[in-house]
Amino acid sequence: MTKIELDHVTKEYGSLVAVDDIAIEFTEGAYTMILGPSGCGKSTTLRMIAGLETPTRGDVLIDGEVVTDQPPRHRNLSMVFQSLALWNHKSVRENMGFGLQMEGVDKEERNARIEEIAAVLQIEDKLDQPPSELSGGQQQRVALGRSLVRKPEVILLDEPLSSLDEKLRLEMRTELARIQQELGTTFVHVTHNQEDAMTIADEILLLNEGEVQQFGPSLDLYHEPDNEFVADFIGSPSINLFDANIVENGAVRLDAGGISLDLPERHRDQYLSVPRSDVRVGVRPESMYLGDDGESGWPAFSATVDVVETFGDYNWYYLQSDLEESLVSQSANVNVMNSLSRGDEVTVRVNPESVHLFDPKSGEAYF
């Protein structure tokens, strides 16, 4: 297992800062996702780890050794490319055996290892065809196989799932997670898809505009976002965000355009330590419930149903209320709420434990 470290890495292209001073240690043997919107510098970061780009400043370390100036071939890692980058002038076998050939492994052993991996990936009967004759999913497996066959310490994946259709993507996603767990190889996977990241990553590095937004276990990013960007980016549907004021009125409460939410008493001191009264409030749709039955201690407000989107086992409700022009909500207990439709008045309850407060200027999380 191998530890990858980015030591204050910056990459500039002329005046454009693609990656801005990233200092991160990836966990050994973990499945790490580098996540962010397009243009956030995630691919550049991955390519600097691979040795395909050189940082403008800072260093890349592999197992404590500075490899910044080393070409990719001296880094004992492999990479799966977004375009797959399979060589159609070579057979699948030659594609997969290329790395071993570069290492000088003899033909017999090469074939043994290719066939072993091909069996795992279920492409053993395709070995002597050119990749172009294979289906999209099979090509994906060949690309992965080419990386796995050499048993590198680190496998980098640059949006490997983006070219697949939805069903195949979900399948491959699960398979990637399974393979990573079996082999214990360090995976660093770049994606713009927060769902892929949340479902299979052990840890997530979330970037925006070249800067680290948050780095940590996936659930931390969901439950304890460091800032408004993280809260907004992670989770589907997106978190509800609105402006509010903190007022002390016996209890600590959030006051937003005629609607008040009483906050839990036991966090009172923390709320009161927020340096300003105007804040941004984030509440995940899955922390909001429709209907007034259940625990009565939760703050509630009333709203009108605007749009209902049904997914079968759950619904999304777009609501209109005084709180904000539009609000997304979701109900997990469909049985109760199935009959709601546009124009219905409904009571919305908020779980006060999962309310996030952010600085309205910097977006930093207070709580």
Binding site: G51, P72, E103
Partner: protein
């Protein structure tokens, strides 16, 4: 109006085929005539004009052999193959360098090479002759190969850049992360993938070199060193022009490039389209 319109379009189609047929005759008839002359007995060559050969003989081809024309064919093969190999290699690595790497002077190098086809090459015949004489390379294929490579280089590099641009960089990067060096990835991935471009460039270089007259005429002074075009012109300068012989050597001079062109037309056409598509 629609009937009128359809008739007009039909008439245009008829006219189109008529004109194309005329164009084809204009472009091909001269070569047919040369071939016809080359297989006619001498008395028919100088006899009545008719569309079909007035008899059939290999005499002129045998004669071409006896006047030593095959020696110029060998000289031309040496020069043309040398030019083809050198041009293709230099153009390929040059195109790769300009497309893939960033270094000071890169733009200048690209312009220097690509814009030489705008240079008046005729202005070089005197100084190049002078240079070759100074370094003892008159009548040597080396100097001629160098000049021919210079002539073919800009277009071949242009073609190869167009082909290399279509090869995703990721294909090379995949080789790099699998343990190949930069040059290893170039040799194992880029070169095999750009073979249609290499064939187009090589074909162009060969055809150009085989037919090039000016530098060959100026540099290859000794008759033993004459290439095909120079030898052809030499026969034309004889006191009594033997048209049967001239026709035969013309056909001999044409067959190699025509065969090559025929085999590689697909690649050359693609290359010309790609290379000029940017114009």
């Amino acid at each position: 109006m629609s009937a009128n319109y359809t008739t007009r379009r039909r008439a245009v189609t008829g006219l189109r085929f008529g004109l194309l047929a005329v164009a084809l005759v204009v472009f091909l008839f001269p070569f047919y005539w040369m071939f016809k002359t080359s297989v006619e007995p001498t008395d028919a060559v100088y006899g009545d004009v008719g569309l079909l050969p007035g008899g059939f003989t290999f005499t002129h081809y045998e004669q071409a052999f006896s006047v030593g024309f095959h020696e110029s064919v060998i000289n031309s093969l040496i020069v043309a193959i040398g030019t083809t190999v050198l041009t293709t290699v230099v153009a390929l690595i040059g195109a790769f360098s300009i497309l893939r790497y960033r270094y000071p002077g890169r733009g200048g190098a690209a312009k220097l090479v690509l814009l030489t086809y705008m240079f008046p090459h005729v202005a070089l015949i005197v100084p190049v002759f002078y240079l070759a004489a100074q370094v003892g390379l008159l009548s040597s294929p080396i100097m001629l190969i160098a000049m021919h490579t210079m002539l073919a280089l800009p277009f071949c590099m242009w073609i190869l850049m167009a082909f290399l641009e279509d090869i995703p960089r990721e294909l090379e990067e995949a080789a790099l992360v699998e343990g190949a060096s930069e040059l290893g990835a170039f040799a194992r991935i880029t070169v095999p993938l750009s073979y249609p471009g290499i064939i187009a460039a090589g074909t162009f270089a060969f055809i150009m070199s085989w037919g090039e007259y000016m530098f060959a005429f100026v540099l290859m002074r000794e008759s033993a060193s004459h290439t095909v075009p120079v030898a052809l012109h030499q026969l034309l300068g004889a006191y009594a022009i033997d048209w049967g012989l001239l026709a035969a050597v013309s056909i001999i001079a044409t067959v190699p490039v025509l065969a090559l062109f025929w085999l590689m037309a697909k690649y050359l056409g693609e290359g010309i389209a790609k290379g000029t598509g940017v114009v």
